[in-house]
Amino acid sequence: MQRALRFGLLVVAGYALACGPHDATTRLTFSGSALGPEGDVVRRQLARFTEQRQGVRVELQVTPDSADQRHQLYVQWLNAHAPAPDVLQLDVIWISEFAAAGWILPLDAFDPGVDDFLPAALAAARWKGALYAMPWFVDVGLLYWRTDLLDRAPRSLAELRQMAIRLRDADATRFGLVWTGARYEGLITVFLEHLAAFGAGILDARGRVIVDDPAAIRALAFMANAVNVDRVVPSSALTWQEEQVRFAFQNGDAAFMRNWPYAWTLLQDESRSRVARRFAVAPFPAGDGGQPAAALGGAQLAINARSAHPALAFELMAFLTAPEQMIERGRLAAQLPPRRSLYETSELAAALPIPLDQVRQVLEAAVPRPATPVYSELSEILQVRIHRALTGQQPPAAALHEAGREMRALLTRAGLSSEGPTQ
């Protein structure tokens, strides 16, 4: 009997030891991308918050770099009702999914001041009218163009096409235009810009599928022609992601490139780039009946619905999205802030490598991807179909009609059909 008791105590003691000590300060966990310059900035800012705010310690919870893996990990944690991390960095396209599943907190109760933020970024942060995230930094699709070969940026899609053909035929460059044509999310961002250029879209304001409308078919036909008829876009681009596209432009092989802001600093590096100081950026031009457009990317911050310290978590979020922190991010990580007022300031102009006036133009034209909980499945359907049309396996009309059918079926199955969510 005695032995059993002693043994039992040992087990309990061992267990208690294994669980670790408890401390007095409140511990907040923050989870986001923590590599390279981004990681440095995050660590600095978290440390600063810890200094300024007494009694709180913020820990950085490291996640894998690949967006897909981070997404998977978040889904696992939040679905398991884990209380940590308290604050998460989310891709813009995940917010509806997480909000609809009840994994992140609505923020209106904290009365966040959102007037200063980019409308497109806010649109991505809302689900059923409520705000679920605060924009942290934005990525926008940019049209990079060669200033040594052209006098000005093309003002319409038709002009872009002409310029590209002319330069390619004159052997000034190997390719006219390069974009991310591999079968992945990057392809959708390119498609989105073409859609907007023709006045089309993927879902309309009511959440109905409009990707098989005539305007959308014209947009896809334009893309397919660019690859297969005009050949201004090389067919190899259909396997390229951001880096390969950048290399093509960087080596002087393309007159136009459609890529993200991160490429700017790398392209200016004279030791590696053949186009340093010979390029500028502009929004993707409009076609018939459309608008210039830039696909909106970037990240936003949200609060874990099971967090033990939601108010504190919101404080951290407000701190990280404050203007000072955003300017610092711009300077150290070359990431664009989503606050409109900052683009009038000289501090941001000094901090960002990209000239403000060029960027401002693009930001005005930002277009978010559809905010729906099943976005990743919708995107996959589109990716497959669009890619088939671009590789010539299917005419654009047929591809988009099939995609539309599948997307409608998916939305119905998920209870998200035409009239919006049924709840």
């Binding site: 294994a18 919870q61 770099d65 893996q69 696992q76 944690w77 398991a80 009702h81």
Partner: protein
């Protein structure tokens, strides 16, 4: 002498088989000691350079001590819980009179054949409600699903093999069943109990699916899960992965070395039980 050629063939085949069984382990150890730069270039089967950089990295950069601790605790706790409870049950099944014994035994065997994936959904939902995900009890409970039947099965076999005379003598002397169990049977069955404990511990140490499904982060990952999740930026860090696999294998190898007779006894009793 027609036996000679046959014996030679057998010996050669046997040697080849043995080599095939041992070579991957040898290679694992050798490769874990190779510097990163030579890891994929070396063409020789013998180590040309030896370095401990991968092992150092495991503990300095990856804190590999944590998964090891977790595996030890979970496997240990499961064994400590499963074996005594199973022993009581097994003694009853082996020695005491009761109806439906063979049915019970068949039921236990059937349960051990359940595919693990088939019980993940409800276990996950229950553990989530009880807030036991990513905790030690949250793994011990699922581990009982396979360790309990295993232990019962093995121990029943061992108890059955024991000669009855000593027990009967003790009972004739007036001892109760429980006293007999404690003072006579258990000491006799100690090797069998040890085999069962070892096998139970081994199965828990190697378990992967439950650990993957019911833990959420590096603080509670067990060794198999931790190794699996070593993901580098662009490629798998093979040096460290191999070093980790060597470390994961060492306790297992030690157990096997020390207790190979007992392990074999456990496996065969489990299998030849009619």
């Amino acid at each position: 002498m027609t036996a000679r050629p046959a014996a030679i063939v057998l010996a050669v085949a046997g040697a080849l088989l043995l080599a095939a069984l041992l070579f991957p382990i040898y290679w694992m150890v050798v490769a874990s000691l190779m510097p990163e730069s030579r890891l994929f270039e070396s063409r020789s089967l013998l180590p040309t350079a030896v370095t401990f950089e991968h092992y150092r990295a495991l503990f300095d950069e990856r804190d590999f001590l944590v998964p090891i601790r977790n595996s030890l605790i979970v496997s240990g706790l499961t064994t400590i819980v499963a074996v005594p409870v199973a022993a009581l049950c097994a003694y009853s099944l082996a020695r005491l009179r009761m109806r439906g014994k063979s049915l019970l035994l068949a039921f236990v065997l059937a349960v051990s054949m359940f595919p693990q994936i088939s019980i993940v959904p409800p276990l996950y939902l229950i553990l989530r409600e009880l807030r036991l995900l990513n905790t030690y009890p949250g793994l011990v409970l699922p581990y009982l699903t396979f360790s309990m039947p295993l232990a019962i099965w093995l121990l029943t076999g061992f108890f059955r093999q024991l000669p009855r005379d000593l027990e009967e003598a003790a009972m004739l002397d007036g001892a109760t069943r429980m006293r007999t169990l404690r003072d006579v049977v258990l000491p006799l069955a100690a090797p069998g109990v040890a085999s069962t404990a070892i096998l139970t511990f081994l199965y828990c140490w190697n378990e992967f699916l439950f650990a993957l499904s019911f833990t959420l982060g590096p603080d509670r990952y067990t060794v198999p899960v931790a190794i699996m999740l070593f993901r580098g930026r662009y490629q798998v860090p093979w040096g460290e992965v191999l070093a980790a696999t060597v470390l994961a294998t060492i306790p297992v190898a030690l157990l096997v070395l020390a207790c190979q007779r007992r392990i074999v006894a456990g496996l065969t009793v489990g299998a030849t039980k009619g």
